[in-house]
């Protein structure tokens, strides 16, 4: 669910969260597909970013991710604390990959 700044909104993007004003009133509901005119109106509201549906970037293959983690940890081979950290990072990368 990437959050995009107003300047980077494009027609066709779909809101993954509603846009609300300062008092909590919903201005545009979740699922709204943005058009040029809607983007123009969003520009007039005082908000920094909008949440849109979809992925912001293509994912890296998991094997590459894990190999990079090994590389980054090469200095700290036998330290128990660093071993734990490395294990957490690998599990984390695996978890993220399945999302």
């Amino acid at each position: 669910m990437p959050s995009v700044t107003i300047a980077n909104l494009r027609p066709g993007m779909k809101l993954s969260r509603p846009i609300v004003n300062e008092s909590g009133m919903v201005l545009l509901p979740q699922g709204t597909v943005l058009s040029d005119s809607l983007i123009g109106r969003i520009e007039n509201i005082n908000i920094a970013t909008v949440s849109i549906e979809g992925d912001s970037k293509p994912k890296k293959p998991l094997e590459d991710e894990l190999a990079e983690i090994d590389d980054r940890f090469k200095m700290a081979a036998d330290q128990p604390l660093m071993q734990m950290l490395k294990r957490i990072m690998k599990e984390h990368a695996e978890g993220m990959n399945q999302r």
Binding site: S3, T5, N46, T49, S56, R72, M75, L85, H92
Partner: protein
């Protein structure tokens, strides 16, 4: 080793604000924030009169780094919500970011990521001022900017050398300058009259066990820095994870499961921060 003694290096780093390559916005800003007696009103007025600075600060406080999305609409509101020290640090952060990007591509991402991680950890540890810790994390590597602004050619060579020899950037700095970015950053922060906790966190973010007055805040920034490097977010001068300091780790009293939870919370915010960085200006 560079042919200058420590005192000369320190004097030159402390006068970094007189370099012609320093962004004008930073020069103007320093005149105001260096003064420890500057009031909320003085700073508020100064920033409000500069549209670039205003928009950068507001974007920052409304960004995932601070977690007040879309809620802060004026500089004065930011000053009230976050306090003078945090806003002073943020102002410095948003004004050095151009220099940061020039010094080292990816250092701004590294800094933002560390700021986000530090706020998450500080909140979980129920520390009184998570925003203060976060702003210290945002600025923890400003010594790298100072060194590379003052010694651009040497620092560029250093980066290549560090990569070729698989060193940590601070090891390379120590060889070349006999000091590291942690020392340089603390000198500048002290010179600019930054709060004592900020100076100490910057100075000891690689040696958190040496922090006398703010050991917990320093430990948080140290862990945040290590986590962001381990996650591979941004670039801090080398692609290696420095050792997590044992004493700092024990003083934080976190379990393996806590770290996993921190990583999950961090991930969503990093995604948003990446968008925030990509869409910059």
């Amino acid at each position: 080793m560079i042919d200058k003694d420590l005192r000369t290096i320190r004097a030159e780093i402390e006068r970094i604000d007189t370099l012609p390559t320093i962004p004008t916005i930073l020069k103007k800003l320093l005149g105001v924030i260096e003064n420890p007696k500057a009031s909320l009103t003085t700073i508020g007025n100064f920033v409000s009169n500069d549209p670039v600075l205003t928009s950068r600060v507001l974007r920052m406080v409304n960004s995932p780094v601070y977690g007040f999305p879309g809620r802060i609409s004026s500089v004065n509101q930011a000053l009230i919500l976050l306090g003078l020290n945090v806003v002073r640090g943020l102002l410095l952060g948003v004004s050095v970011f151009e220099a940061m990007q020039k010094a080292m591509l990816g250092l701004w991402e590294h800094s933002l990521g560390t700021a986000i991680a530090a706020r998450i950890i500080a909140k979980r540890k129920k520390m009184a001022e998570p925003e203060e810790v976060s702003v210290a994390a945002l600025l923890h590597d400003m010594g790298k900017v100072a060194l590379s602004l003052k010694f651009p050619a040497d620092y560029e060579k250093l980066l290549k050398d560090v990569e070729a020899r698989s060193l940590l950037i601070s090891e390379g700095e120590k060889e070349l300058f006999d000091v590291t970015h942690a020392d340089a950053g603390a000198w500048v922060a002290k010179r600019w009259n930054f709060p004592a906790n900020l100076v100490e966190i910057i100075e000891y973010h690689h040696k958190p066990h040496l922090s006398k007055n703010y050991p917990m805040q320093t430990a948080v920034v140290h862990l945040a820095d290590v986590l962001i490097r381990a996650r591979g977010f941004g670039f801090a001068g080398d692609m290696l994870v420095p050792n997590l300091n044992q004493a700092a780790w024990f003083s934080l009293d976190l379990k393996e499961q806590n770290l996993k939870d921190i990583m999950l919370e961090l991930e969503d915010l990093l995604q948003e921060a990446a968008e925030f960085i990509l869409s910059d200006e």
